[in-house]
Amino acid sequence: MPSSAAQADPIPANSIPTDRRLALHRTMQTIRATETTLSRLFADGEIPGFIHLSVGQEAVAAGVVGALGPQDSFATTHRGHGHVLARGVRLDLFFKEIMGRAGGICGGRGGSMHVADLSLGVLGANGIVGAGLPLATGSALAHQTRRTGGVAVAFFGDGAMAEGALHECLNMAALWTLPMVFVCENNGWSEFSPTSTQFAATLDKLGAAFGVPHRRVDGNDVAAVAEAAAEVVEAARGGGPRILECLTTRWHGHFEGDPQRYRNADEIAGLPQNDPLRRSAEALLAAGVEESALAALVDSVDAEIRDALEAARADALPDADAAFRDVYTPTTLTAGA
C-alpha cells in the first residue's frame, strides 16, 4: 500500500479559494453518497451483475474532472462511477443505468462498467482493463487534428500499468505531442493482488523513458489533486502528454460482495484515517466555513440522490426489440443475421 502523504510531491497549501473547495467537496460528497447508496442497493439485490465502487477515491475524480473544460474528454475504467458523476452526468439517468432500466444513460445495455455520456465527452467506463488508454489517446489525436483546444484524459488503475496498452500509448502520445493526461489512480491493489506483485517499474521512471513528465500527488487531498490536475491539464493542452499519479485508497472490495480475505484487517481499519472527505471537511472548517453549511450540503446531496433513485425505481425495464435496433446505425443497408 502506498502511504499517500509520505510519497507525494509537495503542494503549496491553501491556494484554492474557499468557494472552489466547497464545490470540490460537494462533488466528493455526491460520489460518496451515490456509491454508498449503490452498495446498499447491491446488497439488497436491486442491482444486477456486479459493481466496482470508488469509495475512498473521490478526491481523484473531483480534482481531475474538475480541472477539465467543456471541450475536454476522458475515458475511464471499471471503477468509473466517480469520474462520470464528477463530470455532471444526470443522476437519474446514472441510477437508471446501473439498475438496468430503460431510461438509463445507455438504455440499460451497459450497466455499471459501461456508463458513458458522449454529450459530456465521457467516452465510457470500461470492462477491459487498460482499454481506455488507447481510446483517450485517439481522443487526444482528434483534439489535436481538429484543433478543438481540448485535452483527453485516460484514467487507469495501478493494475493497468502491466498492460502493453499503457506503454504503447505513452510512446504514441510522446511521439505526436498529444494533448493528453495519463491519470493513474494508484490504490495499491489490482483485484486481490498488491501492486508490488504486479509491476516491477515505477510510473515516474516509465514516463521518463518516453520523456513524459510525471507528477505524483496525495490522491486523498482534493486540493492537492485539483492544483496538480489544473497544472498538468494546461501543460498538456499545448505541450504534449503528462502523467499524474494519484496515491489513493480503495475502501470496499474489488467488487461488491468481495470479502477481502487477502487484505490485512489493520489496513482496512486504518482507511478512514485517510478519508478524503473528512480531510476536505476539516480544511473547509479551518477556512471558516460553518459546520451547518457542510451539514446542509450533505442533506441537499442526499435529497438529489433520493429523487434520482425514486425515478430509477419507477422506470420500466428495457425492451429487447428496441435494443436490437441499435446494433447498427440506421442506413439503407441491412445487416444479415
Binding site: 451497459g110 477491459i128 502491466a162 502493453g164 483485484e191 486481490f192 504486479q198 429487447a320 435494443a323 446494433v327
Partner: protein, 324 residues
Amino acid sequence: MPKPLRYVNAVAQALNDAMAADPAVMLMGEDVAAAGGPFKATRGLLDAHGPERVRDTPISEASLVGAAVGAALTGMKPVVEIMFMDFVTLAMDAVVNQAAKARFMFGGQCSVPMVLRTPHGGGLNAGPQHSQCLEAWFAHIPGLRVVCPATVADAYSLLRAAIEAPDPVVVVENKALYALQGDIDVNAPREVGKARIDRAGRDATIVTYGATLYAARAAADRLAAEGIEAEIIDLRWIQPWDEEAVFASVAKTHRVVIAHEAVQAFGVGAEIAARIASDAFDDLDAPVLRVGAPFMPIAFAKTLEAAYLPDADRIVAAVKSTLA
C-alpha cells in the same frame, strides 16, 4: 461413493491431478495463485504445487499467453487462465498466430502442448464485455482444438484430456455452470473429439454443447410429455467435432436442431448444419434448424439478457417445426 463436487472444484481437481502426474504442467493467470482464482477454479493449487508452477501474472494477457507458447516450446505444459472469455481478444496473436501455427510452419519440428482455460456465457447480467461465447473463432483456426465441458464429470476428464493433448486446446467453461454439482470419475477415458449421447430418442436430434445442454434437457422433457422423443447429443468437442456421432443420430431421427448460446450467425451450428446438408442430405426429412443468440451484443439489463439467451422454449419450437 465419492462426494459430489461442484464443477469449479472438478476443474481444480483436474489441474491438481495433472500437475501431480506430470511435472511439466504449470499454471499461469491473473490471481490464480494466492487468491485461488477469480472463480476459485485454482483454489489450493499454490499450496499443493508451489509458486514456481502456480504463478500469478500481471494484467498482461497478450504476453502471458505468448509466454505460455514459449514455455510450451521449451518443455513445459502450461495451462493459462483468461478470466473472462471476452478478454481473450487481448491474447489473440499468441493464440492464433503463434500457438496454432508453430508446429505447421516450423515443418512439424515441435508441438505446442498448452491449454487456455476460459469461462464464457451469460446469465449473470455481467454485460457486453463479460458474457460472450467466442468459441467459434477458435474452431475456425487450423491448429487449435476447442472443448466445452457441460457436466461436472466432463469438467474433470476433458480438462485432463486437453492437458494431455499435444496441441494447443482452448477449454471453454461456462461460468453459470461453476456451481453445478455432480460426480467425477478420475479413470474415465480422456478422449479428444468424442461426443456423448446425453439422452436417446427416435424422433429428432438436438445437437448442443456447454450450458445449452440444460435447456435442451428441459426441452426434451417437455417434448416427451407430448410424445416426441428427442435425442440429445452433447458435442463436448467443437474442434474436432464428432461427425460420426452426429451423422449416426441423423440417420436414426432424420431431423436436427443445433442449439448453442453463442450468436447464431456464422457460428458452430452453421458449420454442422452445412456438413449435414452436404454429407447426410439423404437422411434428412426436414431442414436443419439452429437455435442461437440473436445478432447483437449481449446486454446488461435483466430483460435484455433474458430475451437474448437461447432457452428451452426456442428449442421446443424448433424441434416441433422440424416435425411439422
